[in-house]
């Protein structure tokens, strides 16, 4: 794999992560527990989908085969998606959504902070913009998690259950694939394991305040970054892609 192929793969992954998570969060539109929260979740989804557009456009340009953002979003099957497994998990109850967002946001922010200093001008530009948005995401998911954990018996139980279920998907975030290893060596992206300390600190601080128990490390699931997904992704894509699949090239 040369550096250009690695860059394509990385930009594609950043786009896939943002698109898949953005789509999952958008499933709350019209269903969130309160009107303000409905607006908040759809705003967050919109930020992520906007970021995905920037990454996928760039990935298409780096690849040089004329694929546009829409081709990459709507015309790839689940095996060609290389997002992390945590982003594709169903939204579950609201505690589940908040825990997933929190675990992701706590990783996403230091990643973007580092990418905002990337030697690649384009990644730097996308990250500089996105990092300010993600600071709001992390604050929002942290505040909810504290309210759930330190709330009623029921909210605590649901938050802890979600945490225990989703924990197994956090290991993959820090596992660098070949593309990420190449780019880290060239100083284009940070070594992923270097983000672990900040992630740990954020997770421990918020869980302590939320009176939630950090799960033991245990077995970690992985595969998403290689295109081996849980069954949930293909079902999600079937819905997300149906319009372009049924009416190829249709425009809004």
């Amino acid at each position: 794999m040369n550096q250009q192929e690695a860059l394509f793969r990385f930009a594609l992954r950043m786009g896939d992560n943002a698109l898949v998570l953005g789509h999952r969060i958008s499933e709350w539109c019209g269903h969130a527990p309160a009107l303000e929260e409905d607006i908040a979740q759809t705003n967050i989804a919109l930020d992520l989908i906007g970021q995905a557009r920037n990454y996928l456009t760039y990935a298409g340009e780096v690849e040089g085969k004329g694929r546009k953002e829409d081709d990459l979003a709507y015309l790839r099957d689940s095996r060609e998606y290389i997002n992390a497994l945590i982003t594709e998990q169903p939204k579950g109850d609201f505690a589940h959504t908040i825990v997933r967002s929190f675990l992701w946001d706590a990783f996403h922010r230091p990643l973007l902070n580092a990418l905002a200093n990337s030697s690649d001008e384009r990644l730097k530009g996308i990250a500089e913009k996105a990092v300010k948005e993600v600071a709001y995401h992390l604050r929002h998911s942290s505040e909810w998690l504290i309210r759930f954990g330190d709330g009623t018996e029921e909210s605590h139980r649901r938050a802890q259950t979600a945490l225990d279920e989703l924990w197994r998907f956090t290991g993959e975030l820090f596992e660098a694939d070949e593309a990420e290893q190449i780019l880290a060596k060239e100083g284009v992206i940070p070594p992923l394991e270097s983000l672990k300390a900040e992630w740990n600190a954020t997770v421990d601080r918020v869980l302590a305040e939320a009176t939630l128990k950090r799960p033991s490390e245990g077995w970690m699931a992985s595969g998403g970054k290689k295109g081996v997904h849980t069954e949930h992704l293909s079902l999600m894509l079937a819905e997300m892609q149906t319009l372009q699949r049924s009416y190829p090239g249709v425009e809004w």
């Binding site: 303000e36 930020d47 992520l48 906007g50 970021q51 913009k129």
Partner: protein, 160 residues
């Protein structure tokens, strides 16, 4: 051929569709206009990654240029340096306030740097006895507040 300054003046009619009192220049979205060998280049920058108004503003720039008889142009979108609310000029801040949207705190405000929230004045009655309802509002760039004095809800253009 109009000059860059004249074109900038011409583009004053392009407003943010969500806040139709403020032009893209006052908003800081319009970064640069240059004229080189008869070709006009307009540089714009998005406020938020997912701002749906961006495509509209780009189309409006194109339409305005065409209407003025300018055919040879390019509208370029740049991401870096990233847009910040500090680029909203004084005129823009005044218009936001008149429109009923509290202008954003300056990011260099020492309280912002310390992670404290500077007091936000209600755009209706001016009271600073206000409270945050949600960090996320009717559009990506706004937060939802309420005024404890006059009891009205209002939008804050959030610091970014």
């Amino acid at each position: 051929m109009p000059s860059a300054a004249e074109i900038e003046q011409l583009l004053e009619v392009v407003k943010d569709p969500e806040i139709p009192v403020i032009s893209i220049r006052e908003l800081g979205v319009l970064r640069e206009v240059s004229v080189n060998n008869g070709e006009v280049e307009v540089t714009i920058t998005p406020t938020y990654s997912g701002c749906p108004a961006m495509d509209f503003m780009r189309l409006e720039v194109e339409r305005t240029l065409k209407q003025a008889g300018i055919g040879n142009f390019q509208v370029k979108q740049v991401l870096s340096p990233a847009w910040t609310t500090d680029w909203i000029n004084e005129e823009g801040r005044r218009k936001l306030l008149e429109f009923g949207i509290a202008p954003p705190p300056h990011s260099a405000d020492i309280r912002t740097l310390k992670g404290e929230a500077p007091p936000i004045a209600c755009p209706q009655c001016g009271s600073t006895d206000t409270a945050l309802v949600s960090h996320f509002g009717s559009t990506a760039c706004k937060a939802l507040y309420k005024c404890n004095a006059c009891k009205e809800p209002f939008d804050l253009f959030k610091c970014h």
